[in-house]
């Protein structure tokens, strides 16, 4: 961790400097259009070394997968093989234009076509679209598909979407974007969907349910088939939030259990580094009912040639061009390196690692739901009066670990949501468990250590309330 304060690029600026040389025009010049030009372009003026040093030093102020264990629950922070990066950054991709035309893009189209087929097979679906740029975008696709399906059948009154109370925030937010009303379904004592509540909520105004399986509690929804049947019987459709696919690749296919449409977070399960926020891919796959409703275009094959085509009853286009292509290359590379046995080994190891960590800490960190977890588990950090999950999280930083996801899911008080992923060694899990246990000890003996944590970072806890009250969102000179 680089502890020195790093000025802003603007603060490193000096008049007349520039970090890149550009050629002089090699053509006769044309007069610029008076009246339309700007007077000033207030950007920094820095040289190439200053730029390199500035951003390199900034990078040194991050924890990352490549440097630290990063067990963020629900985020599947796995190691992303460097082969993915090599594959995605080949000059042949970087210099390919999305509108070059099918004749001139056969390599890109073939990759997309094959990836669609593999994802359909892995999820147990019928067809897929690689359009959506992230999980939430895939949710938007899926919910629009469900909406259109009902409307195409003349069923205009289905405006409600059922959402379990453990769901990720994107689920209800997506529903609002398409004008659906959300109905929250409580969890039962076991952390699953409360079937009675579900049954009670189902009527002919319900468009469907959005279900995450394994759930954000890290639990497999044992009643998944029953739930799908209940919803289907009530005329609704089932949306699968596939963000947690990492627990079940090669072991369980959501489509087999009656999910009608699901997004895959390719950037999680299929390994694109998260880039400090993105990009991702939330491609959607659909079963029998919704296959024709996918967003498009999707890759197709005709007479041995690849092309793009819009699905018959599709909801249309969700972004310009063909999805986050670079992420697709990574997913393709990754899946090809694993094959079916590798996918199974992946999920098995992810689940084994989570259960192992859980077993090591659950005597000290209480769980709300005790049963065997899948790829992640949710513990609670409120076992010592006056010490909070936040304090534990910050103290983990001192031990060289990125904190888990905290205070989510909302239904577990003081939640610590821990997802180790399959790419971590047993030794790393041991070290992390040791740190958690040590911190629990410190919580009792030296709580101040936790309250004042972290101690090894360039800044301490920042005043987020003040920052939001009077926001400073850009450099003001």
């Amino acid at each position: 961790m680089n502890l020195r304060p790093e000025p802003l690029a603007y603060e490193l600026s000096a008049p007349g400097r520039c970090g890149a040389a550009l050629p002089e025009p090699d053509v006769p010049e044309t007069a610029l259009p008076e009246g339309l030009l700007r007077d000033d372009l207030p950007l920094p003026e820095i040289d190439e070394l200053t730029a390199v040093r500035h951003f390199t030093r900034l990078s040194q102020k991050n924890y990352s997968i490549d440097t630290e264990f990063y067990p963020l629950g629900s985020c599947t922070m796995k190691y992303n093989p460097k082969a993915n990066e090599a594959a995605a950054s080949l000059p042949g991709w970087r210099t390919t234009h999305p509108l070059a035309g099918a004749e001139f893009s056969q390599g890109a189209l073939e990759l997309m076509y094959r990836l669609q087929a593999m994802l359909v097979e892995i999820g147990g679906f019928k067809a897929a679209s690689l359009q959506p740029a992230a999980g939430a975008h895939g949710e938007l696709a899926g919910v629009l598909m469900i909406r259109k399906w009902h409307r195409d059948r003349g069923d205009l009154k289905r405006v409600k979407m059922l959402i379990p109370d453990s769901a990720h925030g994107t689920n209800p937010a997506t529903c609002s974007m398409v004008g659906f009303e959300t109905v929250t379904i409580p969890s039962d004592a076991d952390g699953g969907v409360d079937l009675a509540a579900l049954a009670a909520a189902l009527d002919d105004t319900v468009a469907g349910i959005m279900i995450t399986n394994p759930s954000t509690l890290g639990l497999f929804e044992r009643n998944i088939e029953k739930i799908a049947k209940l919803v289907h019987d009530a005329g609704g459709l089932v949306y699968g939030d596939g963000a947690n696919l990492n627990a079940i690749t090669g072991i369980f296919r959501p489509g087999d259990a009656g999910i009608d449409v699901m997004h895959f977070n390719l950037h999680k399960t299929f390994s694109t580094p998260h880039g400090g926020g993105g990009p991702g891919s939330g491609m959607v796959a659909a079963g029998e009912r919704l296959a024709d409703y996918l967003p498009g275009p999707i890759a197709v094959k005709k007479d041995g040639r690849f092309d793009m085509a819009m699905p018959k009853a599709g909801i249309g286009r969700l972004k310009a061009f063909h999805g986050n292509f670079g992420v697709l290359v990574r997913a393709y590379t990754y899946i090809r390196m694993l094959g079916a046995p590798g996918l199974r080994r992946l999920a098995e190891t992810a689940v084994l690692n989570a259960n192992y960590l859980k077993a090591k800490v659950e005597k000290v960190y209480p769980l709300k739901y005790g049963r065997g977890c899948m790829h992640e588990f949710v513990a609670m950090g409120n076992f010592v009066e006056g010490v909070h999950t936040l304090d534990i999280a910050k103290r983990l930083i001192d031990y060289g670990f990125h904190p888990p996801t905290i205070y989510f899911p909302l239904i577990v008080p003081e939640a610590l949501m821990i997802e180790p992923t399959e790419t971590e060694t047993r030794e790393t899990l041991d070290a992390f468990a040791d740190a958690l246990l040590k911190i629990a000890e410190e919580a009792r003996t030296e709580p101040e250590l936790l309250h004042s944590a972290p101690h090894v970072t360039p800044v301490g806890r920042l005043d987020e309330v003040a920052a939001a009250r009077c926001p400073i969102l850009c450099y003001r000179g």
Binding site: A20, T95, A134, V178, F220, A257, K319, M337
Partner: protein
């Protein structure tokens, strides 16, 4: 498996700690008949095998590095300083998550803040967010934001000459809502003058899809007078030279930021840019970084105003966006800082001069005519023979002449949208002109 490290012996030791007999027994919650399906997937490949395969696929596409390249239309062949990918690919940036824990994410957070600052300078607004999926979704979300801002008003007014795929995306986003889309064919000024009270916003494209750079002065006043918001969708490279949307009174600005240091990459990942006048910041979707202090008064950066976002507000959030285009934004950030005030202006000037030289050369060709409107780096050419046939012929010889408009409008068969950037040499432009001439014989 190199990236699934625990061995069978690790497994046994771990199972013993858990107290389970087998890995399979961890999956008891999965309905048995659905467990362990046979997957029909190709066999696993080692790294060297898959890279060989992917290299072969990557080689099967037309490449801007081996062609004279004049195709733009929303994805641009601009210069990328070598330091941009070199730095952005550092593991600490590449493999970090969204910066939810600010103390160990100051690298990402300060970069977002710097991006917001520089993009804000470029667009002339104080508040930018940390990215949308691409230019099209940024614009769609901007239109949603404008519509939300004026609940009674049911139309949004778009230029007919907006990128056709952007229009499709806006249609997809608006379809479920009670908002209607209207298109205008003339100038934004004319459209603004005739806005009716149902309009929530007017969108101006700067330049529009056909390359025209409209004079936007006065447009904001007219739009505001009609009670609507002005949304300007701009080419960020153009802003190296032309007045900023903020200076022209835009309320919301959006852009496709790929041109700022990101490769064309078959169309993604790209960078949706969005900003707004500061009074609208709490109505703007997307992640935002802000400045903060710690207890010792040290400056740091945090994600802020998150009460707008899905993870806090769930169904009341302004958008469902969660993962965004962080790394692409980082590349734009490094690009903007590296080129800076002097470099970006120079890029814009080069585009201007070269595009105008190309237009002049093409205008000399028998049967060709070139737009008379003000343009920046892209311009419309009328061709004497179908543009698609020119495209096919020339592209096979590695001169990619532009976009035949028939791709989007089947009846516009004799129009070619030509894009010239700082990457095109005079030699290439002359080759284009010569090739066009030959292909039209």
């Amino acid at each position: 498996m190199p990236f699934i490290p625990n061995t069978d012996s690790d497994r046994s030791r771990m199972l013993a700690v858990i107290g389970k007999p087998s890995v399979e027994s961890l999956f008891g919650d999965i309905p048995e008949k659905l467990r362990y399906p046979e997957l029909d997937l190709p066999p696993a490949l080692s790294e060297m095998e898959i890279l060989r395969e992917i290299e072969a696929l990557a080689a099967k596409n037309l490449s801007s590095s081996t062609c004279a390249w004049f195709l733009g239309a929303g994805a641009y062949n601009h210069f990328i300083p070598s330091l941009v990918p070199a730095i952005a690919s550092r593991g600490e940036f590449l493999s970090a998550y969204t910066p939810y824990q600010p103390e160990v994410s100051q690298g990402t957070l300060q970069a977002i803040f710097e991006y917001q600052s520089m993009a804000g300078s470029l667009f002339g607004v104080e508040a930018m967010n940390a990215s949308h999926y691409d230019g099209a979704t940024a614009l769609a979300e901007a239109v949603l934001m404008a519509a939300r801002n004026a609940p009674g008003r049911e139309t949004v007014v778009l230029p007919a000459a907006l990128h056709p795929e952007y229009k499709e995306v806006i249609r997809t986003y608006l379809e479920p809502l009670d908002v209607k889309i209207r298109e205008y064919a003339g100038t934004p000024a004319a459209a603004a003058a005739s806005l009716d009270p149902s309009a929530a916003c007017l969108v101006a494209a700067y330049p529009d899809f056909e390359g025209r750079v409209h004079d936007l002065s006065g447009v904001a006043d007219a739009v505001h007078a009609a009670g609507a918001l002005l949304v300007v969708h701009a080419d960020p490279i153009l802003l190296g030279l032309f007045k900023s949307p903020g200076e022209l009174g835009a309320d919301i600005v959006t852009a496709e930021g790929q041109a700022l240091g990101n490769a064309m990459n078959y169309g993604g990942p790209f960078l949706g840019m969005m900003g707004a006048a500061s009074k609208y910041v709490r109505k703007m979707p997307g992640r935002i970084a802000g400045q903060a202090s710690d207890a010792e008064g040290r400056r740091g950066f945090v994600l802020t105003l998150s009460a707008r976002e899905q993870h806090i507000r769930r169904e009341k959030a302004l958008s469902n966006i969660c993962s965004n285009q962080g790394l692409v934004m980082l590349q734009a950030c490094i690009y903007l800082a590296t080129l800076g005030k002097n470099g970006l202006r120079k890029v814009a000037e080069l585009c201007w001069h070269k595009a105008h030289y190309a237009a002049a050369e093409i205008a000399k060709l028998p049967g060709f005519s070139v737009t008379k409107d003000i343009f920046f780096k892209e311009f419309l050419v009328k061709t004497p023979v179908p543009a698609q046939s020119i495209y096919d012929k020339l592209s096979r010889r590695c001169v990619v002449p532009g976009l035949p408009l028939s791709r989007y409008w089947p009846d516009r068969t004799h129009e070619l949208l030509v894009c010239v950037t700082e990457m095109n040499t005079k030699e290439q432009i002359d080759l284009l002109a010569a090739s066009l001439k030959e292909a039209s014989k």
